[in-house]
Symmetry: C2
Subunit: 300 residues, 2 copies
């Protein structure tokens, strides 16, 4: 089986140009962009799978946490493009072990986050499967032409990350404490995303690990990235911070002379490097090439 | 476990009013409706799961047919509301047995229909699961306020179905012939849906069987339905036509005196009964109550 990136590229290569369909950005970013006729807004769409025994386990993840995370993953993609969430659609294929109580508690977690972030649950589908499988679609809005993309970085731009990385990987191992809560209840950085809309040149969320996600951003922008070690969550390893997935912090670039504050609403914003003209997609840390080591569903 | 309808009602009861989110119709119809600021169009959204060993089998369904059907199900929902498709998002959780060739052929079938119906594949997600699971979202557009809904039928309206029913149930049993093709490659009635936009008072697609779907339409419109036997596909049984799912024909209502042609582009349009003021949701055929016998994922 090819890698996940190769599979996505393979599908993308087959799509004819969008032609007057309203799609202004298709496969390959955090969200697709649709431009409704006559509207001052662009609409952003993202879809995310959450599968039992891949993204969560029956024994260790409470249904409320599964529901929260299902939505948080989608909201994080909206945040990465600077959007405001509007609504979501939830498809759930339930396994034999999911009873009505599990379903109620799943929606407890999902709706808690949905209400806080003003995201209306507008529809979905219910079905059966061997393993619990949730697919969530989130729609967000951004002023026309202003959504942040992965492909906007320019040579010389500074590279930033929000927060401290590796918390989710640590939390998954530890199973308790602050890091565990970060793993179970990730916080989509929606306010930061909107703040960056007029400041960043490119952005994406850190869902699969910095090494893989920065590779993607660099490749989309046709540049390479030179970084130093990112800020590491207390107790996590550098490896967790570089390759652990599901931190849902934002990775972004901005012109070197643009003032980016050290904190945005308590959240650290740390410059970790610079975009360079060189091999597109390559990431170097302290001068050494960093292989994309994040999560790939199709790597053995 | 409660029934599928009870589960959906349970989720719907928990959603706070949409308030300024742009959602003008939420859970409970074929599509949700979103009204973009300043646009002359409403946008329609539907999401549909397609799961191995529930909706298709590895042994009997070619990957091209699975891809076609995944999209056809969503397009049929857009047709039911009188929309024009704009784009789709496809999430695929692949099982161990799905190789890259299977994926290519899945997209062969999906893109064949997508290109014919001018539906751009705008994004999606890839993952792993124990059984192949596809979730598709289709977005369509209809002039503002003009989308057909389930809840618009009025007492005295005539009830119609397109085509002949039971083909898909017959085709599933037979495994060959014209009925089998109808099962494997359903045809979303998009042109008919748009034609009905100015003529029908309510509409939905027949995905789960006439008895269950008409019950849903009647319940949404707060009326009961009195029908005679619907047109039956050659070789199918009346039971197939009443309770067999996946015909993807349209079920609609129109004022009794409105002229509805006998055919629309070769497709028969047959009056099968009348909407009445009486127990909401009840369906009577030739005077006898017809229990909703269509497909319910949660019935044992």
């Amino acid at each position: 089986m090819p890698t996940e990136l190769q599979l996505i590229e393979r599908i993308r290569a087959r799509i004819p140009q969008a032609r007057r369909s309203g799609i202004t950005l298709g496969i390959g970013d955090d969200c697709a962009i649709f431009r409704p006729r006559g509207s001052p807004d662009d609409l952003l769409f993202t879809t995310d799978l959450l599968v039992e025994d891949v993204h969560f386990r029956r024994e260790t993840h409470k249904p409320e946490d599964v529901g929260w995370k299902a939505l948080a993953r989608g909201l994080s993609d909206i945040a990465a493009m600077g959007g405001e969430p509007r609504f979501c659609l939830v498809s759930l294929a339930l396994a034999e072990w999911n009873d009505a109580r599990w379903l109620d508690r799943f929606y407890d977690g999902l709706l808690e986050l949905a209400e806080r972030e003003k995201t209306v649950l507008a529809g979905g589908d219910l079905g059966r499967s061997a393993k619990t499988t949730c697919d969530i679609v989130v729609c967000g809005a951004a002023p026309r032409g202003r959504a942040l993309r992965r492909d906007g970085a320019r040579a010389g731009d500074a590279i930033y990350v929000s927060g401290e990385l590796g918390a989710s990987a640590l939390g998954l191992r530890a199973g308790k404490g602050k890091a565990s809560r970060r793993h179970l209840r990730p916080e989509p950085r929606l306010a930061l995303g909107r703040f960056l809309r007029t400041r960043a040149t490119a952005a994406m969320d850190l869902s699969d690990g910095l090494s893989l996600d920065l590779h993607r951003l660099a490749k989309a922008s046709n540049l390479c990235a030179e970084i130093a070690a990112p800020p590491v969550f207390r107790g996590a390893s550098l490896d967790d911070a570089l390759h652990g997935g599901e931190d849902y912090e934002l990775l972004f670039t901005a012109p070197a002379r643009r003032a980016i504050p050290e904190r945005f609403e308590q959240l650290r914003l740390t410059p970790i490097g610079t975009m360079r003209r060189d091999r597109a997609g390559e990431v170097r840390m302290d001068g050494v090439v960093l292989a994309p080591g994040g999560y790939d569903h199709f790597r053995r």
